[in-house]
Amino acid sequence: MTGGSTTGDDGATAPSTGVSEKRQGWPLWEVFVRSSRGLSHVHAGSLHAPDADMAVRNARDLYTRRNEGVSLWVVPSSSIITSDPDAKGQFFESPQGKDYRHATYYTKSEGVKHL
């Protein structure tokens, strides 16, 4: 499932309400900002730009006016692949209840140092 999202960081648009006939507008891009070295790029929002070169420049102008970043990614919104929200159950049910994957599940070793 692909779709143009914006500030929705699940990277998907809602189903069209029928108003989005083809227009001459600039396409939509998602912007990711690395706020400092050692950290990941985090989704910051979206913007419109005619092409990738301008998108990354517009991202710089719009999303780093206050020193928010040291690096930027831009991705065409239409290129984002998202998990199907209608399949939430089948996608995300499995890890529920498997608490043996977490250190907190193991209580007998409590008090033992460096474990």
Binding site: G3, G4, S5, T6, T7, G8, D9, D10, A12, T13, A14, P15, S16, T17, V19, S20, R23, Q24, G25, W26, L28, G45, S46, L47, H48, P50, D51, M54, L62, R65, R66, T82, P85, D86
Partner: protein, 323 residues
């Protein structure tokens, strides 16, 4: 998908939506949502975005006349922020399915609304102070609770806007403070601006609760968290305290704290005027729309050129790849 399966899916979606609202969790773009929720949010967020964009104009008019270079830089940065806030909000609205072009077209065609406050003229430099202090102050009061709006993208956009806007109100307050402590002419300018912007800023919270038909539903959906009158009263309380620090007065003899309700009360507001401005008969409605339309139309050839260039480059890249 069979019809029964589709119906079942919608029912499941509705169930999830209701659960999420009941748990005060967030709705995200691809979730099922009632059509009325989508419509109401699209209207509210796009109006909010339009307000930021139209709101650039009255202040931008003073960039070239700002009385010191520091103030010129601050004002330019502030008006630029408003463009940015408009963009954040359009982004949020787009996740509901309406492209930005469509929203811009509706604005230019006069089909969409924006905050009436921007249809008042900005006559003096002190108005720039009053706008920052009163208008942005009222906006912040309205916006802080919206950071928790049930629609995820709207809340996230508001978090960003609120962080950035904290300087807007302060710079307005400082402009007024300088003027209030300046020459008699400056002081007079400051008081005059506060007198003119006080009532319109109170009306920014919207009609009284008894007369605000959409509020109830909006609160039930966790979009709005407090009623118009509640926020207005809270704002009046803050202004009463701050105006003293300015050494100016609010043009309202009826302000008082009601011990019984524990709320600030203010004098009567001219809701007829509000309705007039809302109906397009404010002093600057036509001017603001004209300027927006002009910028849009004058820029059309630039936007088209950029699209044409991108298409040519893409074609060239494809040909090179094929060769």
């Amino acid at each position: 998908m069979t019809t029964t399966a589709a119906v079942e899916q919608i029912e499941a979606g509705e169930q999830l939506f209701n659960d999420l609202i009941a748990r005060d969790s967030r709705i995200e773009p691809r979730d099922w949502m009632p059509e009325a929720y989508r419509k109401s949010l699209t209207r509210q967020i796009s109006q909010h975005a339009h307000s930021e964009i139209i709101g650039m104009q009255p202040e931008a008019n003073w960039i070239t006349r700002a009385p010191s270079l520091k103030r010129k830089a601050i004002l330019m940065a502030k008006v630029q922020d408003e463009a940015g806030h408009g963009l954040y909000l359009y982004s949020a609205a787009e996740t509901l399915g309406t492209p930005r072009d469509k929203m811009s077209e509706d604005l230019i065609a006069g089909k969409a609304r924006y905050s009436s406050i921007f249809n008042y003229p900005v006559l003096t430099w002190a108005d720039i102070g009053a706008i920052g202090w009163l208008v942005d102050g009222a906006a912040i009061c309205n916006q802080v609770p919206l950071c928790r709006a049930s629609y995820g993208p709207y809340g996230r956009a508001m978090v960003r806007v609120c962080k950035e806007e904290s300087f807007h109100q302060r710079q307005g307050f400082e402009i007024l403070l300088e003027l209030a402590n300046g020459t008699p002419a400056q002081r007079e300018m400051a008081q005059d601006a506060v007198n003119r912007w006080y009532a319109p800023s109170l009306m920014m919270f919207g009609p009284p609760d008894d007369d605000s038909p959409n509020s109830k539903q909006s609160m039930a959906w966790n979009i709005k968290r407090f009623s118009n009158d509640e926020l207005r009263s809270r704002f009046v309380g803050m202004m009463v305290e701050q105006v003293e620090a300015l050494g100016l007065t609010l043009p309202d003899a009826d302000i008082r704290f009601d011990e019984e309700t524990q709320k600030w009360e203010h004098g009567p507001l001219d809701w007829n005027e509000f309705a007039e401005v809302l109906a397009g008969r404010g002093p600057c409605n036509a001017q603001r729309m004209e300027r927006r339309r002009e910028a849009h139309e004058d820029g059309a050839w630039v936007r088209e050129a950029a699209v044409a260039y991108a298409e040519k480059q893409a074609l060239k890249a494809a040909q090179q790849k094929a060769a």
